[in-house]
Symmetry: C2
Subunit: 776 residues, 2 copies
């Protein structure tokens, strides 16, 4: 039987529940990650209460980055654990791998963010105890987490529970936190202060175990615990709750407050807040969180009428994670590649944010999209430093980004390269350049979609111009070929290092520079004051414009060969062929690295992920459909999809090209990346970009939404087994509710009148409240 | 059935084997500690190969102290783990708590230092695999560790083993090590470099998995691994070995070498050494270690002819640990209170070394004793700093001592005090003073026992004089009572803080100062040059002598009251009585702290450990036997023996007083502190001092050895159920083999002629080769 179940919800819970229906201690990581709870401020990995060999407990608070030592890069610290509970029934220590247990089920309710586990313990003395564990991270209070445990027993038992704060956790052994002076208030509130060693972020965790029974506090190094003992009577239900909170000096509440001042305020303020929290019951707090979730879904849910229920669940699962992965009102923090569901990628933001996740927020929550772009605006400090360090001008965005002024944080040393035994170094931080243009493109798309002139004036133009300045200084003149080139780069396909003229990169750079030249040309008329300010900051923009315009026609843009195939980079067609079947069929991601190191891979026609395909999706006008289709097939055959940034993008392009079966197949591949039956795929955390990819696949692929020459085009292509698709998107400040059914699409404008819609090939406007149906 | 078995060895292994005969995952810590392997350089905790919830893996290398951060004190870092192995049989991950296993036994062979585990796995498919795990830490090569795994299976199986170096271990969450650039040589040798963050000690671990089968290397953050896969055929034996080594820049080989130079040499030299190691087989290395153990036992074994075999095993167990707890040739390192068998007490040296462990080395291995005292000599830097920081002169030894120049390293913050919830602070580093006199006494005893004038000239006099200088400045004049006092101290009994005139301390200080005055008086005649040198270093010693001699008669030395009881400190008799039965009967050490905090305990007549009793044992002439007996009973009744420094000392004093039953009872209590059936007593590591206590109990108690007024007295008192006791001790450079039988003792002088023996009340000499029998 498969461990993951997707069709258990009925009635109002239909397609809202993800269930793990069997426990297997070999596969702890997957559900720890995909069942993670959060609210954008907190990410709480779903390790079970009792400990297991192979578990990875995880608690993260956005923005609390710290660098362990000079050999490492800054990362999101794994904070002291609050979920662990040692539970003893008489002399039996409860464990599903060591004791006889039955009737297991663990369910994440996407609708209200509650994680529930049920399991029955059968002790050696023949006693049967039914446990129900519930958890939530509040959607109504950033700082709040709750656990409830219910027991029903058929015999009298002596219950002992030990839980509290466990500060022995670390990031794979690297400890970011100094332990402060622990306290216990009134024998009930445990207070665990700690501080990041290098970045000096102070944190305080509070927790209280609320139960009938005898409690006493205990402590050990990096631990502060409560022991509960109780006699539980047969037939009676015994319940205990654990309510916890975390606060830090990096909270938005202390933004702009001097460090010493914030440190002074943190302890009394967080304790007072926690005392206030304890005035209400677990039920009351959970209800508030549930309400916040209800409001969110009311606004954000997408309805898929598919013969395959999994499709509906899959998009909701993606929306669930998209909505817990970012603190929507804090523009000092980005989105981690594994969100806050694991230590993988250290909480760093990649191009994943702009290229994969951002479109969701841009269309569905423009305010959050603005927060994300503002994060990049605030990160210009680091981007400019990186450009300078590398000998360039302007803003060269970090390949991996952490706190706003950290700059480049990509780790250089990557461990041992398995083929030779030598150290392996990671070049993405040095030569994977396209992220800079990806960010510029996101800014431009946001502007076109929202018309948010204020953001452009404050942040957007500056990003677009300064990224173009970088490119302008980075381009290399090839006198032999009389053209500008970009050599020694890595494109999206990371199985190819040190390539010249990666098509994706060159085209995107061309676009980035064109947009900047256009802005530099128009701005003096549009907003002269701003133009002057920007000239003061970035140098004479008329000169920049002139320089760009001189170079633009000379930038080398790779063209299709005689067979219509665009070379991914210079010399691609000279590479050797490789039989990829072994790798394509394997469930092991990155299996090819066991046989080939990155140096060797450079010689073969094998890609990790969409590269030319990504380009053809992003810039649909570059080539005609037949060229795109040829390239799709050519490159897909040579792509291992070893990156989760691959399948959803393939699906959307296939959808555009009318390759419906292929498209749906790729969609299912994207859905099952985290949610499927592969039990080890998400160990290090969920694939955040893929959550955005799934959304793009549904709304931009099947839903047919696209920004096209400044217009919003809606041209759906429902999969054959879908009877309906309903989603909402924002356009120029108005929310449009879109319903797609076979043969027609209906658009209802819930906001003010908008224009610039491209429907059935025609440009249209839509009045406030207007509903428009287009036959497909 | 009891988990620990002590009588399984037969023939030449009789009373050499300690066995754990059942596996219970609730009780991992005990055997991890008591089965620890080592050689003085390495301490390897005996965590099992496969992981368990609740395990504490541990690898320590002497002297590699590091301080995690400003809130912590320096400690011996828990180094990357080499013992862990994930073992898969087909799809079953081997685990004794998760799989069906039978025929378990784990045995520490004290004779050859080999740890062997046998267990049979029954897979769900009905396959039966018999495992034998063997381990040793070489007694012949400081750096070398080996593991051998043998399998016999009744069905063909697919075996997978993953093992290597796991650097994610930490000290209860505090990570001391920075990870360096890992390497793999020839697909076989894993190289894992790391460095302590604050103290800058570089370490390199090498390991190789030697096996038939397919291997490949893998790595992850802080991990470098080899995966072995093999098809194991039914009926055939499959064996694989893992050989590992650790080297550091703090090795004796680099003593005096500049840090940069040592760092440069470490990698090539340790790799070359490891390559040389691999030229020989596991068997060859094990044999060399076994030979070294054989030579050690030949010299150090003690024979106990007891009706209770446990007595023989117990003393060998103590000797085993005494001989792996210290690097005998490295005078830069001391002995940790838990040796190197756990993280408890952070690898720090206490008075445990001089007062409990030192006598063994002094009598049985004088060279090691000299190493230990030289460590204290080298630590004078820190002791002088401590005196200065506290406003005193001379050498005030640290209560807890780590690297030679660290000075005082006692942690101040001790976690939360359970009664009030407030932070709890540890005062021993500030006011538990007696360690300074304990060290001075050890120096004096060593001198008397060995006659090692060279040591005295280089180190011993300076320690004795500078400690006396400290006391001379520390004594307080009480004008009302016309006496010198020592107020606000902690005596050996740590349940009493801030006491005045602790009897143990005052008497010992008096002795320390008397000895110094005597030396200061004689030295100008004995060695004028040295006297001048010491005057230059320590100030005018004639003035010191005069000052001490003026004070000595005025130092307050508490006297017995009307009932003959010596007050442990001022006002002791005014304290309240407490019913101690609950705590005395409880197996929980320190249970009283659940009801009383240290502040409250000050008000009651309750002691943690021997205090007045320790004094009466150490300075036997102070009081007549009847007073000693009264005090023994009075204080024992009020002592919880919550310290392992208690029972053995009680036993020796009881033995001296002829209280034979009591003495034997206390001896058994000391033997079972680590070795008994209490399965949680040794979780944090073995009780190193108690190992020395056991030796003192056997040799100084039952064996009747005592330094008395400059003579060696041998006056045995065999327990009733002992028919024989054989031990060897060194006196004035000669090894004396002593055989005790009921009614007589035979002493054979294996060395040069010695005098100063006190036998049957008479002073005697013993010619070289002479055997002397004394009727008792």
């Amino acid at each position: 039987m498969e461990m993951m179940q997707y069709n258990k919800g009925t009635g109002s819970l239909k397609n809202w529940l993800v269930e793990e229906s069997a426990f297997d201690s070999r596969y702890l990581g997957k559900c720890e990650a995909i069942f993670a709870l959060g609210n954008g401020y907190i990410g709480q990995r779903a390790a079970l209460e009792e400990r297991y060999v192979g578990e990875t407990r995880g608690l993260f608070v956005t923005g609390t980055f710290n660098k362990f030592d000079e050999n490492e890069v800054t990362e999101l610290p794994n904070l002291p654990d609050l979920t662990w509970m040692d539970i003893w029934v008489d002399d039996t220590r409860f464990s599903m791998s060591e004791c006889d247990t039955t009737d297991y089920s663990r369910t994440l309710n996407l609708k209200n963010g509650e994680l529930t586990r049920k399991v029955t313990l059968h002790t050696r003395d023949g006693k049967n105890v039914r446990f129900t564990f519930k958890r939530f991270v509040s959607m109504a209070d950033d700082h709040l987490m709750g656990t409830r445990v219910e027991l029903e027993t058929d015999s009298d038992i002596r219950l002992k529970v030990v839980t509290g704060v466990d500060g022995t956790v670390s990031n794979h052994g690297s400890q970011h936190l100094s332990e402060g002076d622990k306290r216990v208030y009134g024998g009930k509130i445990l207070e665990y202060p700690c501080k990041t060693e290098q970045s000096g972020v102070s944190l305080i965790l509070h927790t209280a175990l609320l139960a009938e029974g005898k409690t006493r506090s205990m402590n050990d190094r990096r631990k502060l615990l409560t022991e509960l003992t109780a006699e539980v009577v047969a037939g009676e239900k015994f319940t205990f709750d654990k309510i916890s909170a975390v606060h830090s000096t990096r909270d938005l509440a202390y933004d702009g407050v001097a460090v010493e001042e914030a440190e002074k305020r943190l302890q009394p303020e967080s304790l007072a807040a926690f005392e206030k929290v304890l005035e209400k019951s677990y039920d009351a707090h959970f209800e508030e969180s549930e309400k916040a979730w209800a409001a969110l879904w009311e606004d954000q849910d997408i309805f898929v009428g598919s013969e395959n229920d999994f499709d509906q669940l899959g998009i909701r699962f993606a929306l669930y994670h998209l909505n817990i992965m970012v603190k929507k009102d804090d523009s000092r923090v980005g989105i981690g590649a594994k969100a806050m569901t694991g230590e993988g990628y250290k909480g760093h933001s990649f191009w994943d944010t702009e290229t994969f996740i951002f479109p969701y927020f841009m269309y569905a929550q423009p305010d959050t999209a603005k927060t994300l772009l503002t994060y990049r605006f605030k990160s210009l400090i680091g981007a400019r430093n990186k450009a300078k360090e590398n000998g360039y001008e302007g803003a060269m965005y970090p390949w991996e980004s952490a706190w706003i002024d950290d700059g480049e944080v990509t780790p250089y040393y990557m461990g041992v390269e398995p083929i030779t035994g030598n150290p392996q170094y990671c070049l993405t931080g040095k030569i994977e350049l396209h992220v800079t243009a990806d960010i510029a493109l996101a800014v431009w798309q946001y502007y076109q979609t929202t018309g948010d002139q204020d953001f452009m004036d404050r942040c957007g133009y500056e990003i677009l111009l300064d990224t173009a300045r970088f490119w302008n200084s980075r381009l290399e003149w090839n006198a032999d070929k009389n053209r500008y080139e970009l050599t020694d780069v890595i494109g999206p396909d990371e199985y190819k290092e040190h390539v010249n003229n990666n098509a994706y990169t060159n085209y995107l750079v061309h676009l980035n520079m064109s947009l900047a030249a256009e802005i530099a040309g128009k701005l003096p008329q549009l907003n002269e004051k701003l133009y002057r300010t920007l000239c003061d900051k970035l140098g004479d923009l008329s000169k920049l414009k002139a320089s760009i315009e001189e170079k633009l026609p000379l930038i080398y843009l790779p063209q299709p060969n005689a067979e219509g195939i665009i070379p991914q980079f210079d010399g691609y067609f000279d590479l050797k062929d490789l039989d990829l079947r072994k790798y394509k069929e394997s469930p092991i991601v990155g299996l090819i690295y066991q046989d080939y190191n990155s140096h060797m891979l450079n010689d073969y026609k094998v890609a990790k992920q969409a590269d030319v395909v990504e380009l053809l999706y992003q810039q649909e006008d570059l080539f005609p459909a037949d060229i795109k289709e040829k390239n799709y097939y050519y490159y897909e055959e040579r792509t291992l999809h070893d990156s989760s940034l691959s399948k959803a993008i393939h699906s959307v392009l296939a959808c555009d090209l009318g390759l419906h079966d292929v498209s749906y197949q790729m969609f299912e591949g994207a859905l099952t990346t985290d949610l499927g039956q592969k039990m080890t795929s998400s160990n290090e955390g969920i694939h955040a970009a893929n959550m955005g990819g799934i959304w793009q696949d549904v709304v931009m692929g099947f839903g047919g939404v696209r920004l096209y020459r400044g217009c919003l085009r809606i041209a759906p292509h429902l999969p054959d087994n879908w009877s309906e698709l309903r989603y909402a998107i924002h356009w120029q400040g108005s929310r449009l509710a879109v319903t797609v059914r076979p043969g027609c699409v209906t658009i209802h404008n819930e906001g003010n009148a908008v224009d610039g819609l491209l429907l059935g090939g025609e440009k249209r406007s839509l009045a406030s409240g207007e509903t428009y149906t287009l036959d497909l």
